[in-house]
């Protein structure tokens, strides 16, 4: 028989205002096993915890029920408390009489009645609790960073700095990500490449960092501290060990008509290419869809040209499997392609461009060598209209409901740079709201308006028309309630930030969760912003939500700190509330294995002793280190063989019985 103490918390007035806490304590006194019950103002305070510890010793308690807030809040706190007084931490039950009771009831009588029922249910369950011992697992001292943009690079550099090995997997031929395509960065207007490329070089030169470029994560298994990841290295058809990066192959390549991704398709590249001058690794890739050798079997000029003999048309895809203690998701974003926004004529008109395309048109390494020229006729635009929130903050199916956060600032930057470089250019920005929270951000925006004379108009553009080689922009000015038609030479669309298209499949692979917009979900929106709900999987950068560069870098470092904290441990305590199978009841049907999202259930042929009868049976075995204790198998098992430690079927039924009494 258990000796149970029940402690009812007031939580100040949070609980006590709607629940008669003394009545709850009084009501449970007659329940089986209960030898002590009391109430206290703040159970989580030092005084409250001392009260629990002293009572355990005085009364010789074997289990404790605390009626308080949600176990998500203080279960860990109280487990430590009872453990300090010599009770197994799993001999503690929490009845949630705050979030699920006092906060949602107004009537004190009803609240009290419900609190009493919840307390009795917890007592009924605790009567069937058994002490549980957490197991241990090792920690592989290496981290994997998926995505080699500024977020991934920052995280990798910081982890490497602490002395741990890091692998970066980047699907593009080079690391660097979106920041490589940006010209200047707000609010300081320093050159993006100048601040990014040294970090890329640091990553490449670090002894602790290993870069798998042009590679993708193929398969993930295991659990926190012990992930096993298969990485697919796509064939570059160039031997990285031999290539010197001289670029002779690119000069000689006769296939020169492939839209250049790095310049957003505004110029062309060759079939064998290095995306940009500062690429890391500086090793070309052959685009087999464009390469004449792969298309016709002829050509091979690059091979003949290469003095290092690095071209290898027979290179094959390679699969590498490695173990990691932690995985960081840093898959970043893509700007929305506005093909569904026909009112802006993006599909029809070359002079309607997205903001990232505009970045390339302003960049010295871009298709126009940094001279702002209209794509249609290479003339200098004299009037430019910027349209904000294209695909953001909308309600229709083509829009995202969220604010993309960075567009107000980069549009102000574009507007300012244009006015600075070409003062004779007239610049107008259409906005819904201008949102510039951030250090020195609003000052930056005001400079665009006050010093650089950028026209800001509150309102949206309804239609862009091509008339005689220029554009007519039909819009409304909401402050003066005017309908207007503006002449423009170029229209720039600030398109929404979208998570990388790989986010969804990667989230499935990692059993990490994503939200309805495909952004990765953090474990807690305020208090655990860089961890995913899946242990050992961390989030860095825009994959978690729209962010500018400073925020991305800050989050990248925060993420590294969390990873370092994990890798610094030699062993991890595992959750003992895991499933186990009763080998005498299991009939080997594999229904449980089919529903297990973590791959924690294996089948073995094992000799069992069924009431004196010895025979070999095909039965389920749970890998306790992998099991997350979700309970899906226990409800699926047709023979009742699967059960969850700490949440056994008997315990749940006892709770239900207590509630229904």
């Amino acid at each position: 028989m258990q000796k149970i103490g029940v402690f009812v918390c007031w939580c100040g007035s949070n609980i006590a205002a709607t629940v008669d806490v003394a009545a709850v304590a009084e009501a449970v006194k007659g329940e089986p096993g209960v030898v002590f019950a009391t109430d206290y103002q703040y159970m989580c305070s030092e005084g409250g915890q001392s009260l629990i510890k002293e009572t355990i010793k005085e009364q010789g308690l074997t289990g404790v029920v605390i009626c308080s807030c949600s176990p998500r809040m203080h279960e860990a706190t109280f487990r430590k408390t009872v453990e300090a007084a010599g009770i197994n931490p799993y001999m503690l039950e929490i009845a949630n009489i705050r979030e699920q009771c006092s906060w949602i009831h107004k009537n004190k009588e009803e609240g009290t009645e419900k609190a009493i029922i919840l307390a009795k249910a917890a007592v009924a369950k605790l009567n069937l609790n058994t002490p549980l011992i957490a197991g241990e697992s090792r920690v592989v001292k290496r981290a994997l960073v998926i995505g080699g943009g500024i977020a991934g690079i920052q995280t990798a550099l910081d982890i490497a700095e602490a002395g741990y090995e890091v692998d970066i997997v980047e699907k593009q031929p080079t690391i660097g990500g979106k920041m490589t395509q940006i010209d200047k960065t707000f609010p300081t207007l320093d050159c993006a490449a100048c601040i990014l490329t040294p970090k890329m070089v640091d990553a490449a030169q670090s002894e602790k960092i290993n870069i798998y470029s042009y590679s993708e994560v193929e398969k993930v298994s295991g659990f926190v501290g012990n992930f096993s990841v298969t990485i697919k290295k796509k064939p570059r058809y160039v031997n990285s060990d031999l290539c010197t990066g001289c670029g002779a192959c690119m000069e000689k390549c006769p296939s020169k008509k492939t839209p250049n991704e790095f310049n957003m398709g505004l110029d062309n590249r060759t079939a064998i290419y290095i995306p940009f001058a500062q690429a890391i690794p500086k090793v070309p890739v052959i685009d087999t869809a464009a390469c004449l050798h792969f298309k016709t079997g002829k050509c091979g000029i690059c091979q003949k040209t290469c003095s290092a003999n690095a071209i290898d048309f027979d290179q094959k895809e390679e699969l590498i499997t490695k173990e990691y203690g932690a995985i960081v998701v840093a898959t970043g974003f893509n700007p929305l392609k506005p093909t569904k926004f026909d009112e802006y004529q993006y599909n029809q008109c070359a002079d309607v461009v997205t903001s990232l395309e505009f970045e390339r048109l302003m960049n010295a390494a871009g298709p126009t060598k940094g001279v702002l020229l209209r794509p249609s006729d290479q003339s200098h635009p004299k009037k430019i209209v910027f349209v904000q929130c294209v695909g953001s903050r909308g309600q229709s199916c083509r829009d995202h409901s969220y604010c993309s956060k960075i567009c107000c600032m980069y549009t102000a930057k574009h507007a300012m740079l244009v006015r600075d470089k070409y003062p004779d250019t007239d610049v107008t920005v259409f906005y819904i709201d201008v949102r510039t929270p951030g250090k020195n951000f609003d000052e930056f925006y005001r400079r665009a308006v006050e010093e650089y004379g950028v026209h800001y108009i509150k309102g949206m553009v309804g239609k862009v028309e091509q008339v005689d080689g220029s554009l007519k922009v039909q819009a409304s000015d909401l402050l003066s309630n005017d309908q207007m038609v503006l002449d423009a030479d170029m229209v720039v669309l600030a398109t929404a930030v979208e998570p990388d298209p790989t986010a969804k499949s990667l989230a499935t692979m990692l059993t990490a969760s994503i939200d309805t917009n495909n952004f990765f979900t953090e474990a807690h929106p305020k208090l655990r912003p860089v961890e995913s709900p899946t242990a050992g999987v961390y989030l860095s950068g825009v994959c978690q939500g729209p962010k500018d560069i400073p925020e991305t870098v800050a989050q990248g470092s925060a993420c590294a700190a969390k990873v370092i904290g994990l890798l610094a441990k030699d062993k991890l305590l595992s959750n003992p509330c895991v499933a186990h199978s009763d080998e005498l009841l299991c009939n080997g049907c594999s229904t449980c294995a089919n529903v297990c999202a973590y791959g924690a259930i294996d089948y073995v042929d094992k000799e069992v002793n069924d009431h004196g009868k010895r025979e070999v049976r095909h039965i389920a075995v749970v890998n306790e280190a992998v099991c997350q204790g979700c309970g899906a198998c226990t409800v699926t098992c047709p023979s009742g063989a699967m059960d969850l430690k700490g949440f056994a079927n008997r315990q749940i039924m006892a709770e239900v019985d207590a509630i229904c009494k």
Binding site: K340, D342, Q345, S396, R398, G462, E465, V467
Partner: protein, 262 residues
């Protein structure tokens, strides 16, 4: 396939050919349009004032009748379609309006939005299929460059009409391809022609309709097609630039080789 058909007043008078060609072409495509009995004018404009009941009751009556006949209710005129579909949405989702409308009319069986409202174009796309139409075309309109004029009513509000993407429509362009002609995209294809303003601000109507036709001319359309009698009238009469404006059903009949049958 059979539909309860709501032609509307204009299609019985000024825009008779819009309807006549539609009924004849439907027959060739294996679709029967049975005109509902004693239909009344839809009112021409959907009133957005929340307490307006009376002007919507004729739509409710037509909808209830289609429900009783057991068919979807087919419309053709953009304005009728807009009014009736939106009233149907109100009968489905706006409890206050539904109760009042039913109390007002005291029908044998209360109407709760059971009928579906289908535009003729939706039937062509979703029931017959443009590929099937292509097969039945005997007189392909090869070489004709046609601008599809959607106007403002046919597709909006997008969430209620659920017809096509209001900013990126393609149903009429697909239709034009099905009858063998070449669609011409022009910027103003889904903008308002100013038709409703023609009486109280003629200048505005002229400005809007001229902008529409100019846009089509600039993009080298030979003619415009529409599903809306008011748009057609406005573009023909009020636009300072002239371009033939034809009902899409007339071209369908021509392509199916039944234009003379009428």
């Amino acid at each position: 396939m059979k539909y309860s058909y709501y032609p509307g007043c204009t299609l019985k008078t000024k825009a008779k050919e819009l309807s006549d060609y539609a009924v004849a072409a439907a027959k060739v495509l294996g679709v029967e349009l049975e005109e509902i009995k004693d239909w009344q004018c839809c009112g021409g404009v959907y009133s957005t004032s929340k307490d307006e009941i009376a002007s919507k009751l004729s739509s409710v009556r037509a909808l209830a009748q289609a429900r009783d006949e057991g068919h979807d209710l087919m419309t053709l005129c953009s304005a009728c379609h807009n009014v009736i579909k939106r009233v149907n949405e109100d009968m489905r989702g706006d409890e206050n309006f539904r109760t009042k409308a039913n109390n007002y009319m005291a029908p044998d069986m209360e109407y709760h939005g059971e009928a579906n409202v289908v535009h003729y174009l939706e039937m062509l796309r979703d029931v017959v299929g443009f590929d099937e139409i292509k097969k039945k075309v005997v007189n392909p309109l090869t070489g004709r460059k046609i601008g599809a004029y959607y106007g403002c009513l046919l597709l909006r509000p997008g969430k209620v009409m659920e017809f096509d993407d209001p900013e990126n429509p393609q149903i009429l362009e697909d239709f034009i391809r099905a009858i063998g002609a070449t669609p011409v995209l022009f910027e103003q294809r889904n903008e308002c022609c100013g038709g409703y303003m023609t009486l109280n601000d003629k200048e505005l109507a002229q400005k809007r309709s001229t902008a529409v036709v100019d846009s089509a001319v600039r993009n080298e359309a030979d003619c415009l097609i529409t599903a809306c009698p008011l748009c057609r009238y406005n573009l023909e009469v009020n636009s300072e630039t002239k371009l033939p404006v034809i009902y899409f059903t007339e071209l369908l009949a021509e392509a199916l080789g039944i234009k003379e049958v009428k």
